[in-house]
Symmetry: C2
Subunit: 139 residues, 2 copies
Protein backbone atom coordinates (compact mmCIF):
# COMPACT_ATOMS: atom_id res chain seq x y z
CA UNK A 1 0.00 0.00 0.00
CA UNK A 2 1.10 3.58 -0.70
CA UNK A 3 0.16 5.57 2.37
CA UNK A 4 0.84 9.15 1.32
CA UNK A 5 3.38 11.84 0.51
CA UNK A 6 6.65 11.28 2.36
CA UNK A 7 8.59 14.28 1.06
CA UNK A 8 8.74 16.98 -1.56
CA UNK A 9 12.05 17.13 -3.41
CA UNK A 10 13.26 20.62 -4.36
CA UNK A 11 16.30 21.37 -6.53
CA UNK A 12 18.44 24.36 -5.68
CA UNK A 13 21.72 25.86 -6.83
CA UNK A 14 22.38 27.39 -3.42
CA UNK A 15 21.78 24.90 -0.65
CA UNK A 16 22.81 27.08 2.28
CA UNK A 17 20.66 30.02 1.21
CA UNK A 18 17.67 27.78 0.56
CA UNK A 19 17.98 26.06 3.93
CA UNK A 20 18.17 29.45 5.58
CA UNK A 21 15.07 30.68 3.74
CA UNK A 22 12.99 27.62 4.63
CA UNK A 23 14.02 27.90 8.28
CA UNK A 24 13.29 31.58 8.55
CA UNK A 25 10.14 31.81 6.44
CA UNK A 26 8.44 28.46 7.05
CA UNK A 27 9.84 27.40 10.41
CA UNK A 28 11.43 24.26 8.95
CA UNK A 29 14.09 22.44 10.96
CA UNK A 30 17.18 20.69 9.56
CA UNK A 31 16.65 16.98 10.18
CA UNK A 32 19.27 15.15 8.08
CA UNK A 33 22.12 16.13 5.78
CA UNK A 34 23.93 13.93 3.29
CA UNK A 35 26.39 14.03 0.40
CA UNK A 36 26.09 11.17 -2.08
CA UNK A 37 29.15 11.47 -4.28
CA UNK A 38 28.21 8.84 -6.86
CA UNK A 39 24.80 10.47 -7.37
CA UNK A 40 26.33 13.94 -7.49
CA UNK A 41 24.01 15.37 -4.88
CA UNK A 42 24.16 17.21 -1.60
CA UNK A 43 20.88 16.98 0.29
CA UNK A 44 19.23 18.44 3.35
CA UNK A 45 16.00 17.03 4.71
CA UNK A 46 13.89 19.69 6.41
CA UNK A 47 11.23 18.70 8.92
CA UNK A 48 8.05 20.66 9.45
CA UNK A 49 6.10 20.41 12.72
CA UNK A 50 3.77 17.92 11.02
CA UNK A 51 3.74 15.73 7.96
CA UNK A 52 6.11 15.36 5.01
CA UNK A 53 9.65 16.64 4.81
CA UNK A 54 11.07 19.05 2.26
CA UNK A 55 14.17 17.47 0.71
CA UNK A 56 16.50 20.10 -0.72
CA UNK A 57 18.85 18.82 -3.42
CA UNK A 58 21.92 20.61 -4.76
CA UNK A 59 24.27 19.21 -7.40
CA UNK A 60 27.94 18.55 -6.69
CA UNK A 61 28.64 19.65 -10.28
CA UNK A 62 26.89 20.49 -13.56
CA UNK A 63 27.12 16.99 -15.08
CA UNK A 64 24.89 15.31 -12.49
CA UNK A 65 21.15 14.52 -12.54
CA UNK A 66 20.28 17.55 -10.39
CA UNK A 67 22.80 19.74 -12.23
CA UNK A 68 21.18 18.89 -15.57
CA UNK A 69 17.71 19.46 -14.07
CA UNK A 70 18.76 22.95 -12.93
CA UNK A 71 20.23 23.72 -16.34
CA UNK A 72 17.00 22.63 -18.06
CA UNK A 73 14.33 23.84 -15.62
CA UNK A 74 15.94 26.13 -13.07
CA UNK A 75 15.49 25.77 -9.32
CA UNK A 76 12.17 24.52 -8.02
CA UNK A 77 10.15 21.40 -7.33
CA UNK A 78 11.99 18.31 -8.55
CA UNK A 79 10.08 15.23 -7.41
CA UNK A 80 7.56 13.92 -4.89
CA UNK A 81 8.23 10.88 -2.73
CA UNK A 82 5.43 8.58 -1.56
CA UNK A 83 5.79 6.23 1.38
CA UNK A 84 5.05 2.54 1.04
CA UNK A 85 5.49 -0.43 3.36
CA UNK A 86 6.02 -2.81 0.43
CA UNK A 87 8.29 -1.28 -2.19
CA UNK A 88 8.98 -4.53 -4.05
CA UNK A 89 5.31 -5.42 -4.22
CA UNK A 90 4.28 -1.91 -5.32
CA UNK A 91 6.89 -1.87 -8.10
CA UNK A 92 5.59 -5.17 -9.44
CA UNK A 93 2.01 -3.91 -9.25
CA UNK A 94 2.90 -0.61 -10.94
CA UNK A 95 4.76 -2.34 -13.73
CA UNK A 96 1.69 -4.52 -14.27
CA UNK A 97 -0.39 -1.34 -14.50
CA UNK A 98 1.88 -0.05 -17.28
CA UNK A 99 3.89 2.42 -15.21
CA UNK A 100 7.33 3.20 -16.62
CA UNK A 101 9.89 2.48 -13.91
CA UNK A 102 13.21 4.33 -13.77
CA UNK A 103 14.35 1.80 -11.15
CA UNK A 104 13.07 -1.71 -11.82
CA UNK A 105 14.32 -2.78 -8.39
CA UNK A 106 14.73 -0.81 -5.16
CA UNK A 107 18.03 0.91 -4.56
CA UNK A 108 19.57 2.74 -1.62
CA UNK A 109 18.50 6.37 -1.60
CA UNK A 110 19.14 9.25 0.74
CA UNK A 111 18.71 9.11 4.50
CA UNK A 112 18.48 5.34 4.91
CA UNK A 113 15.60 4.87 2.50
CA UNK A 114 15.09 2.19 -0.11
CA UNK A 115 13.77 4.04 -3.16
CA UNK A 116 12.62 3.61 -6.73
CA UNK A 117 11.64 6.31 -9.22
CA UNK A 118 8.83 6.24 -11.74
CA UNK A 119 9.35 8.05 -15.02
CA UNK A 120 7.62 11.48 -14.98
CA UNK A 121 5.58 10.52 -18.04
CA UNK A 122 3.81 7.92 -15.92
CA UNK A 123 2.19 10.61 -13.76
CA UNK A 124 1.72 13.39 -16.32
CA UNK A 125 4.98 15.25 -15.79
CA UNK A 126 5.62 14.59 -12.11
CA UNK A 127 8.81 12.71 -11.27
CA UNK A 128 7.56 10.31 -8.60
CA UNK A 129 9.55 8.28 -6.12
CA UNK A 130 8.43 5.45 -3.86
CA UNK A 131 10.29 5.15 -0.58
CA UNK A 132 10.44 2.57 2.16
CA UNK A 133 12.58 3.03 5.26
CA UNK A 134 15.27 0.36 5.54
CA UNK A 135 14.88 -2.04 8.43
CA UNK A 136 16.38 -0.42 11.49
CA UNK A 137 16.61 2.98 9.81
CA UNK A 138 15.69 6.07 11.77
CA UNK A 139 14.42 7.90 8.66
CA UNK B 1 2.50 28.89 13.02
CA UNK B 2 2.93 26.96 9.75
CA UNK B 3 2.33 23.34 10.62
CA UNK B 4 3.28 21.52 7.43
CA UNK B 5 2.48 20.66 3.84
CA UNK B 6 -1.28 20.70 3.20
CA UNK B 7 -1.30 19.80 -0.48
CA UNK B 8 0.79 19.48 -3.60
CA UNK B 9 -0.64 21.36 -6.58
CA UNK B 10 -0.18 19.67 -9.96
CA UNK B 11 -1.06 21.22 -13.33
CA UNK B 12 -2.49 18.99 -16.04
CA UNK B 13 -3.97 19.41 -19.50
CA UNK B 14 -6.10 16.29 -19.10
CA UNK B 15 -7.88 16.25 -15.77
CA UNK B 16 -9.85 13.03 -16.24
CA UNK B 17 -6.84 11.02 -17.39
CA UNK B 18 -4.70 12.35 -14.56
CA UNK B 19 -7.35 11.58 -11.93
CA UNK B 20 -7.63 8.07 -13.32
CA UNK B 21 -3.86 7.57 -13.24
CA UNK B 22 -3.51 8.76 -9.63
CA UNK B 23 -6.37 6.50 -8.55
CA UNK B 24 -5.06 3.44 -10.30
CA UNK B 25 -1.33 3.83 -9.67
CA UNK B 26 -1.19 5.52 -6.26
CA UNK B 27 -4.51 4.53 -4.69
CA UNK B 28 -5.65 8.15 -4.40
CA UNK B 29 -9.33 8.89 -3.78
CA UNK B 30 -11.34 11.81 -5.20
CA UNK B 31 -12.20 14.02 -2.26
CA UNK B 32 -13.45 17.34 -3.70
CA UNK B 33 -14.05 18.76 -7.16
CA UNK B 34 -14.53 22.39 -8.11
CA UNK B 35 -14.71 24.74 -11.07
CA UNK B 36 -13.72 28.34 -10.38
CA UNK B 37 -14.71 30.24 -13.49
CA UNK B 38 -13.11 33.57 -12.60
CA UNK B 39 -9.77 31.85 -11.88
CA UNK B 40 -10.05 29.76 -15.01
CA UNK B 41 -9.46 26.49 -13.22
CA UNK B 42 -11.05 23.10 -12.80
CA UNK B 43 -9.67 21.28 -9.77
CA UNK B 44 -9.85 17.88 -8.17
CA UNK B 45 -8.48 17.28 -4.69
CA UNK B 46 -7.21 13.73 -4.26
CA UNK B 47 -6.86 12.23 -0.79
CA UNK B 48 -4.23 9.67 0.09
CA UNK B 49 -4.71 7.32 3.07
CA UNK B 50 -2.51 9.66 5.14
CA UNK B 51 -1.24 13.19 4.95
CA UNK B 52 -1.41 15.90 2.31
CA UNK B 53 -3.73 15.94 -0.68
CA UNK B 54 -2.74 16.13 -4.32
CA UNK B 55 -4.61 19.03 -5.93
CA UNK B 56 -4.93 18.56 -9.68
CA UNK B 57 -5.47 21.78 -11.63
CA UNK B 58 -6.63 22.04 -15.24
CA UNK B 59 -7.22 25.31 -17.10
CA UNK B 60 -10.63 26.24 -18.47
CA UNK B 61 -8.80 27.85 -21.40
CA UNK B 62 -5.33 28.89 -22.58
CA UNK B 63 -5.47 32.48 -21.28
CA UNK B 64 -5.67 31.55 -17.60
CA UNK B 65 -2.95 31.24 -14.96
CA UNK B 66 -2.80 27.44 -15.23
CA UNK B 67 -3.12 27.59 -19.03
CA UNK B 68 -0.13 29.92 -19.23
CA UNK B 69 1.81 27.72 -16.81
CA UNK B 70 1.18 24.67 -19.03
CA UNK B 71 2.24 26.62 -22.11
CA UNK B 72 5.46 27.70 -20.41
CA UNK B 73 6.42 24.63 -18.38
CA UNK B 74 4.25 21.72 -19.46
CA UNK B 75 2.28 19.53 -17.05
CA UNK B 76 3.78 18.83 -13.65
CA UNK B 77 4.16 20.21 -10.16
CA UNK B 78 2.70 23.70 -9.91
CA UNK B 79 2.77 24.78 -6.27
CA UNK B 80 2.91 23.57 -2.69
CA UNK B 81 0.37 24.60 -0.06
CA UNK B 82 1.30 24.89 3.62
CA UNK B 83 -1.28 24.85 6.40
CA UNK B 84 -1.41 27.62 8.97
CA UNK B 85 -3.82 28.45 11.76
CA UNK B 86 -3.09 32.18 11.45
CA UNK B 87 -2.94 33.24 7.82
CA UNK B 88 -3.17 36.98 8.54
CA UNK B 89 -0.45 36.83 11.15
CA UNK B 90 1.83 34.70 9.00
CA UNK B 91 1.45 37.06 6.03
CA UNK B 92 2.45 40.01 8.18
CA UNK B 93 5.41 38.09 9.59
CA UNK B 94 6.53 36.92 6.12
CA UNK B 95 6.30 40.41 4.70
CA UNK B 96 8.45 41.61 7.59
CA UNK B 97 10.98 38.90 6.68
CA UNK B 98 11.19 40.25 3.14
CA UNK B 99 9.00 37.63 1.43
CA UNK B 100 7.37 38.79 -1.78
CA UNK B 101 3.62 38.25 -1.45
CA UNK B 102 1.41 37.60 -4.48
CA UNK B 103 -1.62 38.10 -2.23
CA UNK B 104 -1.10 40.79 0.39
CA UNK B 105 -4.33 39.73 2.08
CA UNK B 106 -6.07 36.34 2.26
CA UNK B 107 -8.55 35.50 -0.47
CA UNK B 108 -11.01 32.66 -1.02
CA UNK B 109 -9.33 29.71 -2.67
CA UNK B 110 -10.46 26.25 -3.66
CA UNK B 111 -12.37 23.90 -1.40
CA UNK B 112 -13.35 26.36 1.31
CA UNK B 113 -9.83 27.53 2.05
CA UNK B 114 -8.56 31.02 2.72
CA UNK B 115 -5.32 31.28 0.77
CA UNK B 116 -2.43 33.56 -0.10
CA UNK B 117 0.44 32.90 -2.49
CA UNK B 118 4.08 33.83 -2.10
CA UNK B 119 6.07 34.70 -5.21
CA UNK B 120 8.19 31.72 -6.34
CA UNK B 121 11.33 33.84 -6.10
CA UNK B 122 10.81 33.99 -2.34
CA UNK B 123 11.46 30.26 -1.99
CA UNK B 124 14.01 29.70 -4.78
CA UNK B 125 11.63 28.80 -7.57
CA UNK B 126 8.81 27.12 -5.65
CA UNK B 127 5.39 28.77 -5.92
CA UNK B 128 4.20 28.56 -2.31
CA UNK B 129 0.70 28.98 -0.93
CA UNK B 130 -0.42 29.36 2.64
CA UNK B 131 -3.87 27.98 3.43
CA UNK B 132 -6.21 28.20 6.37
CA UNK B 133 -9.58 26.42 6.40
CA UNK B 134 -12.47 28.87 6.65
CA UNK B 135 -14.43 28.76 9.86
CA UNK B 136 -16.97 25.98 9.55
CA UNK B 137 -15.35 24.59 6.42
CA UNK B 138 -15.07 20.84 6.00
CA UNK B 139 -11.83 21.09 4.00
Amino acid sequence: VISGIHHLGVATDDLAATVSRYRRLLGARVDHEAVVVDQGVRAVSLAMPEGPAVELLAPTGPDTPVGRFLERRGPGMHHVGYLTDDLLGELARLEGEGAELVDATPRSGLFGLQVAFLHPGTLHGVLTELVQPERGSVA
